[in-house]
């Protein structure tokens, strides 16, 4: 045999060339996949398991734990890993019917057959205990532990706020969160979210395609431990808060108590309130809807967002500014003609003429109208508008007309009209007569209970206050309320002493509007008020502080549609003060009457 067609032997180079080119193409593609492209780098065999930190607890000023964490258990399923099981006994174990089992499994499979989904969420510890013992019989199912909030005392719902699952907005704003995470939705939980939430940890686990965990990735080199959230200690006094909520039972309104020397909120009640436990876990969405639909609007925090005319309580401020303006002094007296007085009638019967102390004691409208008029028209000011500006600036120093920039989120500024407002309203032509309602705390004036309590604290302190706030400190000392600085009011201390004298008589004087609610061994100073309510019965108001010389508590109480301040707000304030200072209450008959709230008309 001899070679045929030897002339074709050069074609071997073509064949070698083709082989080489194709091999080169394969290598080029591999170079692209392995070196250049980023698309194929992601190693999806490593499962990132989030380790949730425990959320910081919320603790009251005496160390009572208000809010802590409790474990709930989600039963998870990885559909692909589910084997043929005894569904009947499994359903009995879970206390579900077979349709539920099939539907849930279908739902999970629709999401992903090899990623875990929640099969039954938020099981209790007892249910968990029962199921976990035999769960090994049912491959594909496992438990995931999450923590939810629990409440030792079902109080201060508005203050502590609540947590819920993150919204789409939250997810966009902060990359820390992933779907299903909890976030503070309101109150302390929301304001101190970053401190309370702690820091999530992560564990990287190599898993096989059946979702079975094999080993920790790179010996745990990239794992991080969760950092627990910080415990926060509030200025709140749980006992006082609880007592206040008890007193406000079946009423609408608010109580705010502040420690004058620090600005810490001792109690903040908004009535009607709700049980914070209702907004936890599986019942959250139902409860939330029910509270939203409630015509009494329990979700609104009246203590910081309810605005009311301060009524006669505001006379204290007008007295102070009048004195500071030098238009009047402690000896200045005005004639009161009782109900016949003009332009504002007096609602009380008393001797005439009256000075500062008895003007406050009797809440004499004509006295304060005259003070206000003489101040605005004082020769020290070029005109009424300048006088008004003087008054306005000092009113604002009491924390009125603006919101407090503290951890009391979105507290309302209320309303103190400025000169521009009246210039616009009256086209530049106005005088003391035009704005006379302001002299007795009516007209355009609006304050929140929080502002009113702060006002009491400022007067009790004789000219300064700390912006009211919830926090005392974080347990680890990382933050405390020293970030809130003392605010001093430009009114002489002596005038505060004068006004306090008048406020003492409100409780201690023979004709004082709150004289029935004196407390043995505690000298209380205060001022009652009645806020005119165009929509119905007037609101009953008081602001007070005690003891008068070194006040430990300043308080504001507003009971909506309850008439005179002396009838409802005053006894509540009195009981609260006694409860806080003594720790107990000596007047059960008053307490009983307040709680019943019957003879209202």
């Amino acid at each position: 045999m001899i070679r045929k067609n030897p002339n074709y032997s050069s074609r071997q180079y073509v064949v070698i060339g083709i082989f080489s080119i194709i091999t080169t193409i394969l290598l080029a593609r591999l170079f692209y996949i392995q070196i250049i492209s980023e698309d194929y780098k992601k190693d999806n065999t490593v499962r990132h398991t989030t380790l949730y930190p425990s959320r910081g607890r919320i603790i009251d000023r005496n160390g009572k734990v208000l809010v802590y964490n409790d474990a709930i258990y989600d039963l998870m399923v990885v559909p692909r890993a589910v084997k043929k099981i005894d569904t009947v006994s499994f359903c009995n174990l879970l206390n579900i019917d077979k349709d539920t089992y099939i539907n849930e499994l279908k739902k999970a499979r629709r999401y992903s057959s090899f990623k875990p989904s929640v099969f039954i969420s938020q099981l209790t510890k007892e249910e968990y205990g029962k199921i976990a013992a035999v769960l090994y019989k049912y491959p594909g199912f496992y438990f995931q532990i999450r923590s939810i909030r629990s409440y030792n005392y079902p109080i201060a719902a508005h203050t502590v706020g609540n947590i819920g699952e993150v919204s789409r907005q939250d997810l966009e704003n902060d990359s820390y969160y992933s779907i299903g995470d909890f976030i503070g939705k309101s109150g302390i939980e929301s304001y101190y979210e970053k401190e309370l939430r702690g820091k999530k940890g992560v564990r990287l686990i190599v898993v096989d395609v059946h979702n079975r965990e094999k080993e920790s990735f790179m010996d745990g080199r990239y794992d991080t431990l969760p950092v627990a959230g910080k415990d926060i200690i509030l200025g709140l006094d749980a006992d006082l808060q609880q007592y206040g909520e008890y007193l406000m039972n079946n009423k609408s309104g608010s109580i705010v108590a502040i420690e004058p020397s620090t600005g810490e909120v001792l109690a903040m009640i908004s009535a009607p309130t709700y049980n914070p436990t209702d907004l936890v876990g599986r019942k959250r969405s139902n409860s939330y809807q029910r509270l939203l639909d409630d015509s009494l609007r329990p979700l609104i925090n009246r203590a910081v967002n309810g605005t009311y005319p301060p009524g006669s309580t505001f006379k204290t401020i007008n007295a102070l500014i009048g004195l500071q303006s030098k238009a009047v002094n402690t000896t200045t007296k005005y004639i009161c003609n009782g109900p016949d007085s003009s332009p504002i009638k007096c609602t009380h019967y008393h001797h005439s003429p009256v000075g500062l102390i008895d003007g406050l004691e009797n809440s004499c409208n004509p006295y304060f109208w005259n003070v206000y008029q003489d101040m605005l028209n004082s020769y020290r000011f070029k005109n009424v508008k300048q006088g008004y500006q003087f008054w306005y600036d000092l009113v604002l120093q009491f924390g009125l007309g603006t919101s407090f920039k503290t951890d009391i989120a979105s507290n309302s500024p209320g309303n103190i009209p400025d000169t521009n407002y009246f210039n616009k309203l009256y086209r530049g032509v106005w005088n003391a007569m035009t704005v006379r309602s302001l002299s007795i705390g009516q007209g355009e004036l609006l304050v929140t209970p929080l502002q009113l309590a702060n006002m009491a604290a400022a007067i009790g302190n004789e000219g300064f206050y700390y912006p009211p706030h919830y926090i005392k400190r974080f347990e680890d000392g990382s933050m405390n309320d020293s970030i809130y600085h003392k605010v001093t009011i430009d009114i002489d201390k002596a005038y505060f002493k004068n006004v306090k004298e008048g406020m003492r008589n409100v409780f201690e004087g023979n004709r004082g509007t709150a004289r029935f609610y004196r407390i043995d061994s505690i000298t209380v100073a205060g001022k009652t008020g009645t806020a005119e309510n165009p929509h119905g019965l007037d609101h009953s108001i008081i602001m007070a502080f005690a003891p008068i010389d070194n006040p430990r508590i300043a308080i504001a109480v507003i009971v909506e549609n309850a008439g005179f301040g002396s009838s409802w707000a005053a006894p509540i304030a009195s009981l609260m003060i006694e409860k806080y200072i003594k720790g107990y209450v000596t007047r059960p008959e008053i307490e009983e009457r307040v709680v019943k709230f019957e003879d209202i008309k």
């Binding site: 074609r11 082989f19 394969l26 290598l27 070196i35 194929y40 190693d43 096989d208 395609v209």
Partner: protein, 418 residues
């Protein structure tokens, strides 16, 4: 011929390349099928233990082949061919269905595919026919008979529903080309495939610009523009029309889901859920290997069964993940050296039978190599054919080994032919 004689004449270079590929395969299967409870490579309960056994059987068979008279396979080529055709017909009637293809014969614990045997015997038959003294390949009749020898087993394999294996028989075109068939068909087909892929992967404009540049360059190299200008313009126009046509067909005629499928197959688009799940896992396994790879037994993707069929058809993933780009380069160059060595040996044969047989088996092996790796890295649709010498599997390894040893024997015997 004695053993001593064989040892002196055998081509040790090719044999060593063959053994090196077997070793790479065994190591890869060990890594892919690694079981912590059975780390012993001899463990016959594990796939690597079995593969080691298959290697032993293959080497023993090869040794026996080296002892058989060299003329044996040439002489009985038609007999073997006839036997495999009979077996192909037999499985059509009463074969065992495995993985959707009715192409297996079960012999005790050993199952094998006649189609694999047919690749070998067809190479023998074609070589035998064209190697006869009175055969003249320039005749149409010869070409038809040679093609018939190929088309018969190919059709039977296709009837079994094994399209991948049927395609293998097309590689005999390469053999025919070497023996004098016009190269135009081969080149046209090759160019068309390359242009098709380039058009889908890149913008049509890049391809047209590239083609234009090459055309201008070729024109200058050829020279004598006046004479060739019409041909050049003609070919250039055809290419441009083809590119635009492919582009148009792909973007306008195909329905979106069809386009997606092709996109995913080609790796242009990612679809981690459905169509391309397996392919994506395979690409991710290889891609995550990077330059140097994760190291032996460190390939988490392949070890934890992310890649389907990873010890058989997708064995290349393990090499990509654990060996990285450097690893795959070494393996690909090993293969290329192996193929080129076979061609070089084929060319030095005095016997036409030996030469054609050499080209036959190198074409078959190269086709498996290309299609298997191309599908693993998303350059081709997933066709289930093994990577020669590397994929797990007894019957394919045995047949591929027999092919090589028969060729080694022919080569060792080449000086005995006048």
């Amino acid at each position: 011929m004695g053993i001593k004689n064989i040892i002196g004449k055998i081509d040790w270079f090719l044999l060593l390349l063959y053994l090196a590929l077997l070793a790479v395969g065994l190591v890869s299967i060990y890594a892919a099928a690694f079981n912590e409870n059975h780390t012993d490579i001899y463990d016959l309960t594990q796939n690597y233990g079995k593969q080691l056994l298959f290697i032993g059987i293959s080497l023993f068979t090869g040794f026996v082949i080296l002892l058989i008279d060299a003329k044996f396979f040439n002489t009985f080529a038609y007999l073997f061919y006839g036997l495999s055709i009979f077996l192909l017909l037999f499985v059509l009637v009463s074969g065992t269905t495995i993985a959707g293809s009715k192409s297996w014969i079960q012999l005790g614990i050993f199952s094998f595919q006649p189609s694999e045997l047919a690749k070998f015997t067809t190479a023998l038959a074609v070589a035998h026919y064209l190697g006869k003294n009175d055969t003249d390949f320039s005749k149409i009749k010869t070409k038809l008979i040679a093609s018939g020898l190929v088309l018969l087993p190919m059709s039977l394999v296709l009837l079994q529903g094994d399209a991948g294996s049927a395609l293998v028989f097309l590689v005999f075109l390469l053999v025919f080309y070497r023996e004098g068939m016009t190269g135009l068909i081969l080149i046209t087909g090759l160019v068309a495939i390359i242009l098709f892929l380039l058009t889908i992967f890149f913008s049509k404009w890049y391809v047209i610009i590239g083609v234009s540049v090459i055309t201008i360059a070729v024109s200058f190299i050829i020279g004598n523009l006046k004479k060739n200008i019409l041909k050049i313009i003609g070919v250039y126009s055809l290419i441009v029309i083809f590119v635009l046509g492919v582009n148009f067909a792909f973007n306008n005629i195909l329905k979106p889901h069809q386009r997606n499928r092709i996109n995913v197959i080609l790796g242009i688009e990612k679809d981690t859920k459905n169509i391309g799940y397996n392919l994506n896992q395979s690409l991710t396994a290889i891609g995550s290997g990077g330059l140097t790879g994760k190291g032996f037994l460190q390939g988490t993707m392949t070890r934890y069964k992310y890649v389907p069929e990873q010890h058989t058809d997708f064995i290349f993933c393990t090499i990509g993940e654990e060996g990285g780009f450097l690893g795959v380069t070494v393996v690909l160059l090993l293969y290329l050296a192996f193929f080129i060595r076979i061609i070089v040996l084929a060319e030095r044969q005095r016997s036409v039978f030996s030469r054609i047989y050499g080209y036959g088996i190198v074409s078959i092996l190269f086709f498996h190599f290309t299609v298997n790796i191309a599908m693993t890295i998303g350059l081709m649709p997933v066709i289930g054919i093994p990577l020669p010498f590397l994929s797990y599997g007894g019957s394919s390894l045995l047949i591929f080994s027999i092919m090589i040893f028969v060729f080694l024997k022919q080569d060792a015997n080449r000086m005995n032919i006048l």
